[in-house]
Symmetry: C2
Subunit: 174 residues, 2 copies
DNA sequence: CATGATGTAAAACGAACGTTTTACACCTTC
DNA sequence: GAAGGTGTAAAACGTTCGTTTTACATCATG
């Protein structure tokens, strides 16, 4: 396994579980099994490491959302939550912890959310057979709400959002 | 204005804008206009200050949600976002930044979310004229989703969630 | 006028922070 | 076999962290 990959994987887990600012470089080097010298050669700085983690997570997350129906969208989120657990949206959390003041992070988050929004919009349009911007926005909100509510309501929140989405979709079809 | 109130008000603003861990005690004392000695006499510790902020925010937030219809629930959220701005749910953010490892914080968050869930459930039941647990959970998810999506979609996300909630409610009525 | 509570200003605490540096080992590859 | 790239181990950098302490001012109440 590539050293950079090992670093990013370890960092993502620690950031997700304990928060960004609460995760020190010592813990990162130890978890990644490398010296701090090597860590800085690969990542540059903590902020850049955060951005790297976000970029990689975007790749992995968006790959899961390559689906054709709104129902499959929420099924994919159910899978994600089951496999990865749920500590909220790592992107928005990074923004909140840095106050939006770190350019490389703010940019990675903006890129992800734009892509995510486009994906939801595309899936809704494909599922419905026509563009439906307002409905797509409602589905996006259900998706975000499921991610957030799962933090204290458990994985069932995703199933609940899924059935709500089904109602909205069937309403739009008739 | 009471010193403790001034402290909590200043702390809430800083925590919300820059994050919990990123806000140092120096910035807090300066913003609250008091010495660190006084701050510690009133708050005890940073973790206890965070819990105080959360408890006070719960009081203020829940007071706004004393409404009788689901539509009014989202209208109240629109007001909240307009007045207070939107940096995500301060409760879940505190949990994420501490990894859930700080008892007083975890407890304040759990208490708030339990009260919030109960409130949503009550409003849905009053609006509909009967208990509807699954529908209440869907409305809760829309509420959380609006809060979260407003971070990058703007205040319009709340209006979108509001109309989605209206659809789900009218579907449940017929 | 003494007392005790409540406040400020500022220094100090040890620990942890993100980051850099020094010194050294192991490999390829020319 | 010298060179250069890539890695480790560990100390050190100066800064900032959350917290405590020291010294002093103010002011109501006995």
């Amino acid at each position: 396994m590539d050293l950079t990959t090992k670093l990013i994987t370890a960092a993502e887990k620690l950031f997700d579980r304990h928060g960004y600012m609460a995760t020190g470089m010592d813990r990162l080097t130890e978890a990644a099994g490398m010296s701090s010298r090597t860590l800085y050669k690969h990542a540059g700085s903590k902020a850049q490491l955060m951005a790297l983690v976000l970029t990689e997570r975007d790749r992995r997350f968006m790959a899961r959302l390559e689906v054709k129906s709104v129902d499959a969208l929420f099924a994919a989120l159910e899978d994600w939550v089951r496999v990865e657990g749920t500590h909220g949206c790592l992107f928005l959390r990074s923004l909140a912890e840095t106050g939006g003041d770190t350019p490389e992070i703010a940019q990675a988050v903006a890129a992800h959310k734009a892509a995510f929004r486009q994906r939801v919009s595309d899936v809704v349009a494909a599922d419905l057979g026509r563009e439906a911007p307002e409905l797509a926005e409602q589905i996006l909100i259900l998706f975000e709400g499921a991610t957030q509510a799962a933090l204290y309501r458990g994985a069932g929140a995703v199933s609940t959002a899924r059935s709500a989405a089904a109602i909205l979709m069937s309403g739009a079809r008739s």
